[in-house]
Amino acid sequence: MTSRRGSVRHQLRLACEPDRVWDLVGDPTRLAEWFPGVESCTVDGDQRVVTTRSGLPMPETILGVDASLRRFQYRVTSPLFKEHLGTVDVLDLDDGTCLVVYSTDAEPAALALVVGGAARAGLANVAELLGADIVVGSGPPTSSPRSKGAH
């Protein structure tokens, strides 16, 4: 892998009202309910500390919780990452379904893959928790990892 930065996006189209999805993924305190490998998380203002199943604390800064856009953004500030930006969007498709998109941009690129891989499983958990069917065969396909620059 020659890229230092990596961007990974995963998305699921759910047969579910977007507000139901947003109530879960837009609440920073509820992460452990749906994101795999998260034992707990504590939120204090714009600071969140996630503790993974391996016992690793991941401090984060919450950049925005925009209910009107249904967009949640955060940065992992752990020294494991040189840079990180995570974005969760819930997009209303106006047909009783919504698209949930989890985007990870990170350096090093390896961690974008790791977080992105967990996020993919997390989106499947969201569908299961909400009892929402996954709509297959329409909407844009899940993207493959893409480079953002090479050294």
């Binding site: 892998m1 890229s3 490998g37 391996s54 350096e107 390896a110 891989g117 967990a118 993919r120 990892p145």
Partner: protein, 514 residues
């Protein structure tokens, strides 16, 4: 009471590192002895030349396109079929000790079962994991959640820092050099030999065997992490082989111009990697430029690799002694192989990647059938694959191979191979990571190796490689564009595509770099 099965795998071991295969550097009397008593395969190939897809093939008896682990970092689904499960269902006790690597290692969330299992013990909560009732896992070095690092931290914490750091600060595979020549992935390791992972794997295998009843049948996969890089065997053992005395490999043209001329006749990702422009496999150190490899660095790596092979041979000898002491020796089948090879200086390259040549493709494979079955020693020259191992274990156990296995039980000699149609062996490569995409398919038939490329980052899908091993065993003359063999090439390509299995759809997700 039936036959017991000991599957011994190493990681990234070349065919020519065994004495019985003509190797002149490492002394491997234990494996050589098994070969003398049993069947030595001259042409065994993996179905993928990287760990996770290849190991998944061993477990499932399926091609990567079928089991779905198309590159490292793609986890094998936990409900994938498993030969261990079949054997357990037939009454076998089952264990896997050492390197599994069916799931990614870089896992801070501890969400993959093998990593999580290591924190809870050696017996899966559900009773079985992939058909194994007992798992004790290790990989290269002492980092991560697996059993070996945990054991080392608990009993020998002073040794934790003695290993080479496989990854650098950017979580890329480390390019830092060491030893006496500054060779990449080399480090002086002060760890005591007895607690190095090779001996630990043998010790834990013996420990598990000691829990098995005398009259029980068992299948044990003993999986050594070496001689995969990093090359950091216990320093106390490094003096066995003076690297200065090690000959350069036949596949390493010492003359730079000659080396580069050979590379230039191959598809362009060969030369791009050599020059450090394109790294298409995460496990090759991204910051290392192969063109900088010196003959002395190659000698030192070859010597350290050979030391690791010797330690494995000795560790296997200890396990076999224990098995004999238990009275199982006459009923024991031993299969010794590896998951894929190592470039080992061929063409001036090391490590591995999308390069379907002998260093990576020609594997050591020895099958010593149970002496009670009165085996006749033989050498099989016909092509076989790791996909054939799972059905072989079923045959040893006297059970029918399930329909989902795609290989055939290994032949016992060439006549058997001819009778049962061992004509060709196929290997796949797919990688698609951060904008670098490579896809190729290879057939080995008769004495020809033919690779066809599919469109990717560096290829438009018209490229290929064609080598005649009968007069070019070092694969230095690419005859893909040679008009005099065009008909043969077309026939091989047609045969290659005729025998491809359908690719799993949708493709499984890449979830980590390795």
């Amino acid at each position: 009471m039936g036959r017991k099965i000991l599957l011994v795998t190493t990681d990234q071991q070349r065919f020519d590192t065994l004495g019985c295969n003509g190797g002149m550097v490492a002394r491997t009397p234990v494996v050589d002895g098994l070969a003398a008593q049993g069947i030595r395969f001259e042409r065994a190939q993996p179905q993928s030349v990287v760990c996770m897809p290849s190991r998944s093939t061993v477990l499932t008896g399926q091609y990567p396109s079928t089991h779905g682990v198309w590159m490292n970092g793609v986890p094998l689904p936990v409900d994938a079929p498993s030969v261990a499960e079949v054997l357990h269902g037939a009454g076998y006790r089952t264990a896997l000790v050492g390197k599994a690597h069916f799931e990614p290692y870089i896992d801070p969330f501890l969400r993959f079962e093998e990593n999580a299992l290591s924190s809870t013990g050696t017996e899966p909560a559900a009773g079985l994991h992939r058909g194994f009732e007992h798992l004790e896992m290790a990989t290269h070095g002492a980092v991560g959640p697996l059993h070996y690092p945990r054991w080392l931290a608990a009993h020998h914490p002073e040794a934790l820092g003695s290993f080479y750091s496989a990854l650098d600060g950017s979580l890329q595979v480390n390019a830092a050099g060491g030893g006496e020549t500054g060779a990449p992935q080399v480090k002086v390791n002060t760890i005591e030999r007895g607690i190095y992972h090779t001996d630990w794997v043998a010790d834990r295998t013996i420990g598990w065997l000691d829990t098995v009843g005398d009259d029980e049948d068992w299948f044990c996969w003993m999986s050594f992490p070496d001689p995969h890089h990093p090359w950091d065997p216990p320093e106390s053992e490094v003096g066995r082989i003076d690297w200065r005395e090690v000959p350069l490999p036949a596949g390493y043209p010492e003359d730079r111009a000659a080396r580069e001329s050979i590379l230039d006749a191959k598809p362009r990702h060969w030369r791009l990697w050599y020059d450090g422009t394109l790294v298409s496999n995460y496990e090759a150190p991204a910051e290392w430029v192969p063109a900088t490899l010196t003959p002395d660095q190659l000698r030192e790596v070859t010597a350290r690799n050979a030391v690791e092979c010797e330690l494995i041979d000795e560790a296997l000898g200890r396990v076999l002694d224990r098995i004999d002491a238990r009275g199982w020796g006459c009923d024991l089948d031993v299969v010794f192989t590896t998951d894929h090879g190592e470039l080992g200086g061929d063409f001036g390259l090391m490590f591995k990647g999308p390069y379907h040549v002998e260093g990576l493709m020609r594997l050591p494979l020895i099958w010593r059938p149970a002496p009670a079955s009165a085996p006749v020693g033989s050498v099989v020259t016909r092509p076989v694959g790791l996909v054939d191992l799972a059905p072989t274990f079923c045959a040893i156990a006297g059970i029918e191979a399930p329909a989902w296995m795609e290989g055939k039980a290994l032949p016992v000699d060439d006549a058997d191979a001819d009778e049962r149609g061992f004509e060709r062996v196929l290997t796949e490569w797919d990688s698609d990571i951060f904008g670098t995409e490579v896809h190729l398919r290879t057939i080995m038939r008769d004495h020809w190796v033919c690779s066809a490329y599919l469109p990717g980052t560096s290829h438009d899908g018209t490229e290929g490689e064609l080598y005649d091993l009968s007069d070019d065993p070092l694969q230095q003359v690419n005859r893909w564009e040679d008009r005099s063999v065009r008909g043969l090439r077309d026939d091989l390509v047609a045969d290659l595509w005729d025998h491809q299995v359908s690719a799993r759809f949708p493709r499984l997700a890449l979830e980590a770099p390795v």
